[in-house]
């Protein structure tokens, strides 16, 4: 079933909270609507679903990769040139730790930056339905509505205090 996107622009946070409640009552699932804001409101302010994320996986995987590469460089090169000096162990752990620490950090940093871009679904060159007033303090409720429910949804948004409606 084709869906269209409709955006209601609000000034008051209370109206947005009411809109979320009404949308749920109207049969919309949590994934069918989203809140847009220029300010990071505390999670759950509008009764919206608390967003889950997997960002923590990225630094973890990056750190493991960085550590492995650093281990490969340090241990691999020493094992490739097996020269025992003064009866000491072939692998000298303390110097290796420095490179491995830096490798781990480097991997974690690069993966975190990539993770933020990936998890934020960026870059997205087509912003879709949007209103520039959102970064000025207004709030947006973005609804993915079936074509036949579009009129009803628009009416719902107006009833809950939307100052402006945009559709696509």
């Amino acid at each position: 079933m084709p869906k269209r996107t409709i955006l209601g622009v609000y000034q008051k946070p209370d109206d947005v909270a009411e809109t979320v409640t009404r949308l749920r009552q109207a049969g919309y699932a949590d994934n069918d609507f989203d809140i847009l804001s220029g300010t990071p409101y505390p999670e759950g302010t509008f009764g919206e679903k608390v967003a889950a994320h997997r960002l923590y996986v990225f630094p973890l995987v990056g750190a493991i990769c960085g550590f492995s590469i650093a281990l490969l460089i340090t241990a691999g090169t020493q094992l490739s040139y097996p020269m025992v000096t003064g009866g000491k162990p072939l692998l000298s752990i303390p110097p290796m730790l420095i490179i491995m620490y830096e490798g781990t950090m480097l991997g974690a940093i690069l993966a975190t930056v990539m993770g933020v871009i990936f998890e934020s679904r960026l870059p997205r060159f087509d912003l879709g339905v949007y209103d520039t007033r959102i970064t000025e303090g207004y709030l947006g409720v973005l609804v993915a509505s079936p074509e036949e429910k579009l009129g009803y949804t628009e009416q719902l948004l107006r009833e809950t205090g939307a100052e402006d409606i945009k559709k696509r």
Binding site: L36, G38, H53, M105, I109, L110, V113, R121, L122, G140
Partner: protein, 459 residues
Amino acid sequence: MQHAIHSRHVNPRPHLPETPAALTRDVLGKFSRPQGTGLLVVSGILVLLGIAGFAMRLSGGFSDRGAWGYYAAIYVFLLSTAAAAPILAVATRLTKGYWRKPLVRMAEMFATVGILSVAMLIPILGVLPPIEGRTTFWMAWPDHHWYPQMSLVAGVLGLTICGFGLLFISAKPDLAAARDHVPGAGRGFGAWLATGWAGTPHQWKIVRQGVTYLGIFYLMMLVGVHFVVSVEMAITLVPGWRDPIFPAYHAVSSLQAGLAMLVLTLGILRANGYKEYLALDQFWNPGKLLMSFSMLWFYFWWSGFIIFWYGRTAPEEGVMMTVMFGPTFGAFIVAFFCSFAVPLLMLMWNPVRVSIKGPVIASAVILVGNLFDRIRIYEGAFLVTQQGGHFVEHIPATRMPDVADLLVAVGVVGGIMFIYLIGMRIIPLLSLWELKEGQLLTETRHILGAEVVAIGKPE
């Protein structure tokens, strides 16, 4: 304390526009019409002078390590100040310090200076010897020859990438605001970086988490870099120098200098268009930290020094003479007074600490102290040309800076200003989203006759 504040008629808190729309207009107005064009030109000229000084130094080749001592000192000064300045943003974010909001971006903007850190490291890699001929913990296996250089490159590069990542992610919502409201060319390249930002709860959560992660990594990386730099560029060049406290001293003195660099910058910005955003709170709170770091400077220096002073073995005497009482004795005295004694004696007084000028002046003194501290360490260490041995056999003579050294120093100061000024033309210098969050979560209330600020901390 209240008396001290009121007696100066200074509002402790910033006076921000009252609505999000007004705040957005004001912040983006400052962004689209940046000040300091004259300073940008002057700093550009200083950079050119620095490049000329670098060319003069380069013409002498890499073989004379002593000639590169001041260059190394200035380089480490750069790492200790500009590279450490974003730490205040990181630390106050992690501890949820409310007063940070107007100054976090000003601190993070110093991450851009990482470009200069990477560029200036390149000749040092050529000047530093491989592991042969110096006391080092790297084992003398064929594959280890260039590990000191490798660890330096990995550390500085990692720190720079982390800094840029931190700045980019933290600025993304504000770049979106610039995209939406700054007309034409004024929105700049930065707005392009915000492509796709709509401000969904999911995006906000990712930004918050990303900034937290990268902030922690930045702190971890900075400490690691100071360990590697102090070991590879100082300790291992001086025969007989074994001091586990020194890398910690190096990191702590860097945090002190980074904070001082930021407070001095805040003072300059307050006088140039950011007065409403930078009030007493933004100077008084870092002032307390500066005083603590001044005491920590002494504690860490003393902890290392007392072992050498009472040990008095030949290696210990050699180290003391090389980096404290020998060729760089004058620099050591200046460092001692400007990093510890003078700022502590200034900031221990309430009227000085609870003011705007006091912490700014103390910061300028600390920066002078840190520069001379790095000179006494790195100029001293680079002057030692002895290969191997268990102690410094001949204490080197004092070498005064030449024209090339002075030009490089001027160039680095110019470079920091130049890159910072370019940065504030690409990214807003105020963290708009955090200021708006502050507006949302802050309320002034009255308890009987007193006026208090109630701050919401949702997490």
